[in-house]
């Protein structure tokens, strides 16, 4: 089993230059964030599916469906109740909501789902090494990218350990499902202690392994096994993402896709 969302397949997204993908990602975030009308937000969400398909990320969407549903429901509920300065239509004690606040909450849920899908598309077609390499190319210091590399390495290791530790303690009769809140919290101690101890040992082991394999050795700079070549598709991706972001801002500035005068 692997925790990684990267898909070992070939797709338009996989073939893009790491720097092009890194720069395009925040630009692609702009369009879904621009509109707070749920119909427009839904349109942007559907548009992100094009990117999901181009990145061969559809199988990974299934892994985040639950999270997406939670985001949609919680966002609709919270914003419906918390959007300020709306004329309340429905009240229940201190709680109040209006059709506008419900629509805004729904749009926010759809927008968050669009961002989630873009993230899934990105990690489905970009290796951790490509991400950190692109960061270095745009000027992020090597120490910061090294820390990120370690995080990428340790996250699946810890996840695997958490799974084993949970099984080991459950096999000794630990019940994590019954009892009140505080009882349940206390029951997590037998999980947390071995996982933390392992995390500390693993961090040491991984650091030793990195240096033992010569990280930091090249005086004339680190080379790359895979060569990344910038091509017309990468330029097209960046120009397209820029145009989409600019177009979305212009439409919103023109008053389209808006039900409330706020982000």
């Amino acid at each position: 089993m692997t925790m990684s969302l990267f898909r070992h397949v070939d797709s338009i997204g996989h073939r893009r230059h790491p720097v092009a993908k890194l720069l395009a990602l925040p630009l692609l975030f702009v369009a879904p964030l621009a509109f707070n009308d749920p119909l427009w937000a839904l349109g942007m969400l559907l548009l992100t599916f094009v990117i999901v398909l181009a990145s061969a990320a559809l199988p990974n969407v299934g892994r985040v469906v639950g999270l997406g549903a939670i985001l949609l429901v919680m966002s609709t509920l919270l914003w419906a109740l918390m959007l300020p300065e709306r004329e309340p239509t429905w009240t229940l004690g201190p709680l109040c909501a209006s059709p506008t606040s419900v629509m805004y909450g729904l749009a926010m849920g759809l927008r968050l789902n669009a961002l989630l899908l873009l993230g899934v598309a990105y990690v489905s077609c970009t290796r951790p090494e490509e991400f950190t390499w692109a960061l270095r190319r745009i000027g992020v210091p090597a120490t910061a990218t090294l820390a990120l590399s370690l995080t990428f390495r340790l996250a699946p290791m810890l996840s695997g350990t958490a799974y084993t530790v949970t099984q080991a303690q459950t096999a000794r009769g630990l019940d994590l499902r019954s009892g009140g809140l505080f009882t349940r919290i206390a029951r997590y101690v037998p999980l947390i202690v071995p996982i933390l101890a392992y995390a500390m040992r693993s961090a040491d082991d991984v650091t030793r392994a990195l240096e033992s394999r010569g990280l930091g050795a090249a005086s004339s700079g680190r080379t790359e096994y895979h060569e990344y070549r910038w091509d017309a598709g990468d330029t097209l991706l960046l120009v397209g993402a820029l145009a989409l972001a600019a177009g979305a801002i212009w439409l919103r500035a023109s008053g389209l896709g808006e039900i409330v005068g706020r982000l």
Partner: protein, 566 residues
């Protein structure tokens, strides 16, 4: 060509430690020499390995005296990344050494760090993957490989920069017998190519082909010479914490002067001196090994299981029954489904199809917590379960979960610690105990739940020869006291000597379920499933086509014909 290694008066004390981990070690390795490093757990083997590639003192603080020289250069005190190109190191936990998202990048990582041009890397990486028989996994995520494949990949990555010295810290710990043979072949090739090799290891048989052997005891060099010199003396081996080879031990038991090390030499020596197997003695030994099994306790019926996102099933239509009081060993290569099957026996995993019933209860309908009273499971790594501040609290955790009152918990803790011979450690922190002791604490915590069945996942892994023997003796004692014992292991001598029944899995399918004697007597099955016979079994087969399973059994079955031999 390799570099010579010169260790001179090396002592190292970890910061905060009371005694030194290494004490005045001096050791010379010629260029291209293959040296095995042995000794008890905690004797200082890993510390010496880390001194050789500079991790100590560069990355582990402490007090270092003496020096390590590789070729003409002093390594001690130099940055690890500088040493990395000349001294490659495969760590004990080789999975922690896998850092990349695909197999090719993994091998290339060290070369990228060394600044090698891309074209050269793209020539060298496929060559190494071919050498390690890993071309079929190109493009895969290292995390998805089998244990043996991961280990070969980690070694390929270490070999990529063509180090002149290769240090391997217990490289065969987690791999199956076939994987060990493959690794031995790879190391022999490296040695032939002139790489200097230092290999820390517990397996005595693996060290037999080495050019030299060094043994550490409490941080000091206790032996430095040819392996044959030490292995011919079983008593001395035991003193140094090394499990003796079976052939010299047999000859010592028979009061013979010769000390052959391999079954082939032993056969020649015994036949020349008029020894043969007694029919009546063999039949008696066979009867003694057959135990009386009770009623069916675990019924596995047509069980298949597929992990989420897996390419194929981990278990495929497995059906078997385990009776009360049995001692069963589960054999198979890495990734054959042994642990997956074992985790079905206490409900940690539920079958995708089929059913598992324990004492008549379907595991799918019984909470795992309740299964703890029926089936205990000792995980391979005790550190995956130890969490409490004291041994008493750790061992009492299970009974508490099962609802026992304080007096009952106290009684069970006492009994369990008595069984694992750890009485008196109740107030000690389990984290400061040795690995062998922590394993026994983990076992005590399972025993305190008073399960009828105990499943052991690789109970001898990471233990030295003496600890391995002690652990297996403990399992035999538990079995004699009525516990049903199920052991997953790659340790063939332990399987042959202690278990009565063997279950063999191959790619998730049950391919054999018979007495241990039948399984170790089936040469074709063993070859197909990557298993090897213990030396005593090889010898008994060569002497008279019998399958004998331990030194004790073989010694009792051998008879000398009068008037033959010197």
């Amino acid at each position: 060509m390799g570099d010579a290694v010169e260790v001179t008066g090396l002592s190292f004390t970890y910061r905060g430690a009371e005694r030194p981990a290494l004490q005045g070690v001096s050791l010379s390795l010629d260029a291209g020499e293959m040296c095995y490093l042995m000794g008890r757990t905690g004797a200082g083997k890993s510390t010496l390995c880390r001194c050789l590639n500079g991790v100590i003192p560069a990355m582990q603080p402490g007090e270092l005296v003496g020096q390590v020289r590789v070729g003409e250069d002093v390594i001690s005190g130099r940055p690890v990344y500088e040493t990395a190109r000349r001294v490659g190191m495969l760590f004990q936990d080789f999975e922690a050494q896998l850092l990349a998202s695909d197999v090719e990048r993994e091998v290339a990582f060290g070369l990228e760090n060394a600044g090698m041009p891309g074209e050269q890397m793209r020539e060298r990486v496929p060559m190494l993957l071919d050498l390690m028989d890993l071309t079929h996994v190109i493009g895969r995520d290292p995390a998805t490989l089998s244990g043996g494949e991961k280990q070969r990949l980690a070694l390929a990555a270490v070999l990529a920069p063509r180090p002149s010295v290769l240090v391997l810290d217990e490289p065969t710990t987690d791999i199956d017998p076939r994987g060990k043979e493959e690794l031995a072949e790879i190391l022999a090739v490296q040695s032939d190519l002139g790489t200097t090799l230092l290999i820390a290891e517990h397996e005595t048989g693996d060290a037999l082909d080495a050019g030299s052997l060094a043994v550490l005891r409490e941080g000091a060099l206790a032996f430095d010479g040819e392996p044959e010199q030490l292995f011919a003396d079983p008593e001395r081996c035991r003193e140094l914490g090394i499990l003796p080879l079976q052939m010299p031990e047999l000859f010592a038991r028979l009061d013979l002067e010769a000390r052959p090390l391999t079954p082939d030499d032993a056969v020649r020596s015994l036949q020349q001196n008029g020894w043969s197997l007694g029919e009546a003695e063999c039949a008696r030994a066979q009867r003694e090994k057959e135990g009386q099994a009770g009623d069916a306790l675990i019924e596995v019926e047509g069980v298949s299981f597929t992990y989420p996102q897996a390419r194929g099933p981990a278990l495929d239509d497995v059906t078997l029954t385990i009776a009360e009081g049995e001692f069963v060993v589960v054999l198979g290569e890495n990734g054959s489904g042994k642990s997956t099957l074992a985790r079905h026996l206490n409900g940690l995993l539920s079958p995708t199809s089929g059913s598992v019933r324990v004492a008549g209860r379907d595991t799918r309908e019984t909470p795992v917590q309740q299964m703890a009273a029926q089936v205990g499971y000792l995980f391979q790594n005790p550190d995956h379960q130890i969490f409490a501040a004291t041994v008493r609290e750790e061992v009492g955790f299970g009974p508490h979960n099962l609802g026992a009152d304080e007096a009952e918990v106290e009684r069970r803790v006492g009994e369990a610690l008595e069984m694992v011979e750890l009485r008196g450690t109740e107030e000690a922190s389990p984290f400061v105990l040795t690995k062998g002791e922590r394993q026994r604490v983990a076992l005590a915590s399972v025993l305190a739940c008073r399960p009828r069945v105990i499943v052991f996942d690789e109970p001898t892994t990471g233990l030295d020869g003496i600890q391995q023997r002690a652990m297996m003796d403990l399992l035999a004692r538990l079995n004699a006291e009525g516990h049903t014992i199920i052991v997953i292991t790659h340790c063939t001598w332990a399987a042959a000597e202690y278990a009565r029944r063997a279950i063999v899995l191959d790619e998730g399918r049950l391919v054999a379920d018979a007495s241990v004697r039948e399984v170790f007597g089936d040469e074709e099955l063993l070859a197909r499933t990557g298993q090897v016979r213990p030396d005593v079994t090889e010898l008994s087969q060569a002497l008279g086509g019998r399958t004998l399973l331990s030194v004790d059994e073989l010694a009792r079955c051998l008879r000398r014909h009068e008037g033959r031999g010197p």
